[in-house]
Subunit: 332 residues, 2 copies
């Protein structure tokens, strides 16, 4: 195994977030499942946009947010994902490159426009997402360069990749390239509804060791094992996964491995403004910890710190340097 | 004079803000005048965008921000300004209509793209702006409907309208329509460099009473009268203006009228995040106060409250209901 060029390479849907504040009545009127992510077509996207309040556009996408967090911690990062060569696609590409992230996936020159996620943030800070996949539909195994994957210490994939038609093949190609090079493969389960759509396939990824590290939140864990009981889910996960982290919002997280189950508390937060990206940024910190050779508890603390930063402002990418924040908190 | 349909109608450059954090070294390296607004061409816009950090896109434009504040206070508001029918132009139109603001200016179907303002926010919260006027160049007197102007109690105009070639004619047409209907005409001086470009014309607007109410900050006042002394500027303004408000950041403002000069303090602020829109939102509150028939001191307090809200987050439009905030603070 040669020295790595990247600490973490992420593959995911390249999405621009369109964020607006909304009250709970709006979610009800629009038939939105609070806290979830729904896939929508272009007509529904237009209808939601017409109904929603004044919005802010910020680059998003789950794995892309994670990679932005990795770069903000000062680690070497790359991203693979598909935009169109339109105004939002160019904004996505600008934002990711401006964060010192390697990004070489060619944009689509025709076909649907760059993916957008319409995010309603309710007064409690919870976010409810509606994703129009657009150009992200066209991520293809050809967009995966095995040499680039082999040059990354960790390849990080999002469960949402199961939604576009060819992206799961890109995922499998990347996972094989990573393992051929003796690198680590990590997966986030993304969303409990996503788990519901692809439960059997996700369990197979775990059990056949396509994935070395898995991130889930409580709802995703319970959906994966179709249980209402957290401890039952954790016990099942311990059987299936080499290494797993289950995040529990303000209750912190548990790290699940052959060594046992370790709980790590959440970092303190003054005021929750927008929870979008909390899980993504937790993953960022944990991956940075692993890449630095930290133990699992320290990695989880880096994750918790990044998650705490991102939920205190609108948008799913860090606004302050996580490296500086980590240093101030004695974690780096 | 018939009953008004709108409390305030604003006319200005329709601009989408592209906001990134930057340090002072970046401003120096890019030859940017800290705190000012520079006009840039498309090539310079691209060069700045390539050099700047990850950005957030939020609808902006000085008068448009003011009108968003007027609507947030629950007053009846309309806006006139030119976008192109492109992604950012559609976002601008969505955001302004979603804030319950009347907006009927037809978008340009060809020509330059929707105007963008590249805003660098330094760690002290100060903003430095670079504006590519794009489609806003094409605002034309034909875009002014005298009946709509006549239906607004106050028509509010930005000094920046002197930059595009035909917009000052649109301004004069609107001011005439307003006065013909015995309505009020208000102007903001916009920026000290803008005042420097158009000093003689702005003084004439005041002295020939084309404008009934003028907003300026300290730098703009000093530029207008080419003086380094605040009191000298205020004395000169009192000669020229029927009614004027000079804002002084954390020192509050002074209201200048035939009755004398009254100082009103700023509203308290926990932490300044981004000063973009402070002057725009002050004007919003003051105009709402006038439209409600409040006295000048109460109007200035409504202005100060709105300015305090907008400088505590990224972006130049209110994120919370100013009406609710005004009620909580006993001003409404």
């Amino acid at each position: 195994m040669t020295a790595s060029r990247y600490d973490v390479l992420g593959i995911g849907n390249a999405i621009v977030d369109v964020i607006a504040r909304a009250d709970d009545d709006f979610l009800v009127a629009q038939n939105m499942q609070k806290g979830g992510m729904a896939l929508i077509d272009e007509a529904r996207a237009q209808a939601i946009y017409d109904a929603m309040g004044p919005a802010t556009e910020i680059s998003g996408g789950s794995a892309a947010n994670t990679i932005a967090g990795v770069a903000s911690y000062g680690a070497r990062a790359a991203f693979v994902g598909k935009v169109k060569d339109d105004e939002l696609g160019r904004a996505f590409a600008h934002d990711i490159r401006a964060a010192s992230i390697g990004f070489d996936t060619p944009p689509a020159s025709d076909g649907p426009s760059t993916a957008r996620c319409y995010i309603m943030v309710t007064p409690d800070g919870e976010r409810t997402m509606n994703t129009y996949l657009g150009a992200a539909q066209d991520l293809h195994p050809n967009d995966i360069d095995p040499d680039t994957i082999a040059s990354a210490a960790i390849t990080y994939l999002e469960g949402y990749l199961w939604d576009p038609p060819h992206a799961k093949d890109a995922f499998r190609k990347a996972a094989k390239a990573a393992h051929d090079a003796k690198r680590m493969v990590a997966l986030t389960l993304s969303d409990s509804f996503c788990v519901d759509r692809y439960r059997a396939e996700f369990l197979k990824l775990l059990r056949d060791k396509t994935v070395d590290l898995i991130f889930a939140n409580e709802a995703e864990l319970k959906s994966l094992y179709e249980t209402a009981d957290f401890d039952t889910g954790v016990a099942a996960l311990r059987q299936d996964a080499k290494l797993a982290v289950v995040t529990r919002s303000e209750k912190g997280c548990v790290v699940v491995s052959a060594d046992g189950v370790k709980a790590v508390p959440a970092a303190s937060v003054d005021k929750v403004v927008d929870t979008t990206g909390a899980g993504d940024l937790f993953a960022a910190g944990f991956l940075v910890g692993l890449a630095r050779g930290s133990d699992h508890v320290m990695a989880a603390r880096l994750g918790a710190l990044a998650a705490a930063e991102v939920i205190q402002h609108l948008g799913a990418r860090p606004e302050t340097s996580l490296k500086a924040l980590g240093q101030e908190n004695g974690l780096l």
